[in-house]
């Protein structure tokens, strides 16, 4: 009798142990399904309705998408995103990698330099926006200061120029996240086994070759993580544009995120905004799904 009881008790405990992980995981999964995927489906649905100021539920088919791609501002936003994202990702990785490699050379004062490189990631553009705007303004910022210092021919008026303003966004965005990328590469570098490097040096490899042939290939995972984080930051860039240029001069620095917000909330064309959001989501999925797939497959 006593033995039997223990057995059922153990069975029960086993079953509980079996169910417990799923039970603990379920709130997170439920939240994700509702608040992420549920809302995505809602947005997709909205993009096929005639919603203006608040959601409405009259079906209009692909009208909004037709309107969206008829708007020159949307095309501009997409082109801008292509320019912005490619430069931003490339430059951040280049600077982050260089800083990490240099910082890894027994540098005196590393403890002081590292937080200086990292701190911009801690600040939002609501905080630094005005300072950046002033620095970039030729009348009061860097150009003006250079003139005061006697360099009269110095020109830095990109933010006022329709063709160059997008590059000032790149500049400020690189300022914010390249230090973070540096940290990721530094972590990768410190994780490399020094024996490999020593062996290569004994074989007579130059520093340049050492990094090109051995170290950088070993940093592959760090490159991948950096790429994904930067790409998603690029697509979501919103505060930056609002703080720096407000989308101007003209609408030269409009990005999809600012476009979407303005159509959904300030222009009272919620359905057009929703359709631009759907296109953005498709773009994000195009980048993320292969990454997630690779991430999951590798662990097999």
């Amino acid at each position: 009798m006593a033995v039997g009881q223990t057995r059922t008790e153990r069975d029960w405990r086993m079953r509980l142990q079996d169910w417990l992980p799923k039970l603990v995981l379920s709130p997170s999964v439920a939240m994700t399904l509702l608040f992420v995927y549920g809302f995505i489906i809602f947005t997709i649905y909205l993009s096929f309705t005639g919603s203006k100021m608040l959601p409405s539920y009259d079906w209009v088919g692909f009208d909004n998408y037709r309107r969206l791609f008829g708007l020159s501002a949307w095309t501009t936003a997409l082109i801008n995103l292509a320019i912005f994202a490619s430069l931003y990702v490339t430059i951040c990785i280049a600077i982050g990698l260089s800083l990490a490699i240099f910082l890894d050379q027994k540098i005196r004062g590393e403890g002081m330099l590292r937080p200086i490189y990292l701190y911009p990631m801690a600040l939002s553009f609501i905080v630094t926006g005005t300072a950046w705007k002033w620095l970039l303004d030729p009348g009061i910022g860097i150009e003006h200061t250079m003139h005061l210092w006697g360099w009269e021919t110095f020109r830095f008026d990109w933010i006022k120029n329709r063709d160059y303003a997008i590059y000032t966004l790149v500049l400020a965005a690189v300022w914010q996240s390249s230090g973070f990328v540096m940290a990721m590469f530094l972590a990768g570098l410190r994780g490399i086994d020094n024996e490999i490097l020593k062996a290569a040096q004994i074989d007579g490899a130059s520093n340049w070759n050492l990094y090109r042939r051995i170290v950088i290939p070993l940093l592959r995972p760090a490159f991948l993580s950096a790429f994904v984080i930067l790409a998603h930051l690029a697509i979501k860039s919103y505060d930056l544009v609002i703080a720096l240029t407000g989308g101007g001069p003209g609408r030269a620095t409009e990005l999809p995120a600012t476009f979407m917000y303005s159509y959904t909330f300030t222009r009272n064309q919620m359905a057009v905004g929703a359709s631009s959001a759907v296109i953005m989501l498709m773009g994000i999925a195009a980048i993320m799904v292969p990454y997630i797939y690779a991430e999951l497959k590798e662990k097999n």
Partner: protein
């Protein structure tokens, strides 16, 4: 007679308020974007007034983009089924909400008791009383076709206050020749649209403004006169310094204050910057209507729109608040600080400064003559979608993307696409 009427009004309101007062805690929650400095402390006058009547004020300030962030917050609140009691709003946003059916409260009782129909200009009633139902209490009237000028710069160069558009251009030219900045301007779409209001008026007067900006008549929008309007914009563009784009309007005002620039075209809120810098109207700086637009006033009016409440205490508090907003004391106290003029034309403007008095007088005249027009630049001439479409074209033209003829064509297309 008048005194009697007012007495009757206050008694009626008091009775109205008393009937519901007993039931629930009286409370108003107010969503607004007067979040900093003088305008916020001006609003505090209203808060204290209500508190003296036993009403709790729950403040809900959300700044950003001339109310854009506040409007987003409002949509979230209404969707959540938790609408604030009163919301600061401008022009067509009010009408958009009025179209949403039953979300707004009915202020007709208060309005009738206090005779709002008579004392508030009809041009404002278009927004506060659509379909014969009062839904909002106007707080103030700003007007946008003002020029702010540095007197000492003008005196130095021997420039008289210009009376016509051509004189204005000649004056600007003279300043530019002297090496100073002629027109202080910040290159943000709304600032360009503010100037555009005046350019339209100076070209074709009130009738053309009505046709093109308010009725959106394609012929007026794309016609020869509109090309002239854009030509005027191009003229003004020639007098702006190279660093204009993205500049805050405050910094443009500072240029005039600091003797770096002679003129700025900006709404009457710019006065606050001058006063704050210790400048005296008439002595240090001049305020006058944009030459060529005299007799017309383009306005934007801040209003508190009342959202429907189920709680009786809140309903009562809402009515008291509406009544307090229209009280002459608050109208004066608030507008003295804000730089605008009272939303009712029957209060005395003795306490205002010279620019304020001038503004009040011109507002009353324009209201009488039917030349008080909603400002396109500030969302009082057409709906948000159309307004932003116009912004796009105006800004593109101002930045040299289109010539005037193309701009007029594009204006027709953009407005059509937005409707």
């Amino acid at each position: 007679m008048r005194v009697y009427k007012e007495m009757k009004a206050s008694v009626a309101v008091a009775a109205l308020v008393l009937t519901a007062a007993t039931a629930n805690a009286q409370e108003v929650e107010v969503l607004h974007w007067w979040t900093a400095g003088g305008e916020a402390s001006a609003l505090n006058v209203l808060k204290e007034n209500l508190q003296a009547q036993g009403i709790t004020w729950r403040d809900m300030p959300v700044a950003g983009g001339g109310g854009e962030a506040a409007m987003t917050a409002l949509r979230a609140r209404v969707t959540a089924g938790d609408a604030p009691t009163a919301v600061q709003m401008l022009g067509f946003d009010i009408l958009d909400w009025a179209e949403q059916g039953e979300v707004l409260a009915d202020l007709n009782e208060v309005a009738e008791a206090e005779n709002w129909d008579e004392v508030i200009p009809e041009a404002l009633q278009r927004f506060s009383k659509p379909d014969g139902k009062w839904i909002a209490a106007p707080v103030n009237v700003h007007s946008t076709n003002w020029v702010w000028a540095n007197k000492s710069v003008l005196d130095e160069l021997g420039i008289e206050q210009p009376g016509t558009w051509d004189e204005f251009i000649a004056a600007l030219q003279k300043v530019q020749d002297s090496g100073k900045v002629a027109l202080a301007h910040g290159g943000q779409p709304w600032q360009e649209a503010t100037i555009f209001d005046s350019a339209v008026l100076a070209t074709g007067g009130a009738e053309f403004y009505q046709k093109s900006m308010i009725d959106l008549d394609p012929e007026a929008l794309g016609g020869e006169e509109m090309v002239q309007v854009f030509d005027k914009m191009a003229q003004l563009r020639g007098f702006v310094d190279d660093n204009f784009s993205g500049r805050d309007w405050n910094l443009a005002s500072a240029m005039v204050i600091n003797n770096e620039a002679a003129f700025q075209i900006m709404g009457d809120w710019a006065k606050g910057e001058f006063l704050n810098a210790g400048k005296v109207p008439g002595q240090d700086f001049l305020c006058f209507r944009v030459p060529g637009t005299e007799g017309n006033v383009t306005f934007n009016a801040d209003q508190f729109v009342m959202f429907a409440q189920t709680d009786e205490g809140k309903q009562a508090a809402q009515k008291t608040m509406a009544s307090a907003i229209e009280s002459p004391e608050f109208q004066i106290a608030f507008n003295k600080v804000k730089g605008s003029v009272p939303a009712r034309t029957d209060v005395s403007g003795d306490e205002l400064d010279d620019c304020g008095k001038l503004g009040m007088q011109q507002l009353a005249e324009a209201a009488e003559a039917g030349t008080l027009l909603g400002s396109m630049g500030h969302g009082h001439a057409n709906p948000a979608a159309v307004k932003n479409a116009m912004y796009d074209v105006i800004t593109a033209h101002f930045n040299g993307e289109y010539d005037s003829a193309t701009a007029a064509e594009e204006l027709v297309n953009a407005v059509e696409a937005a409707q």
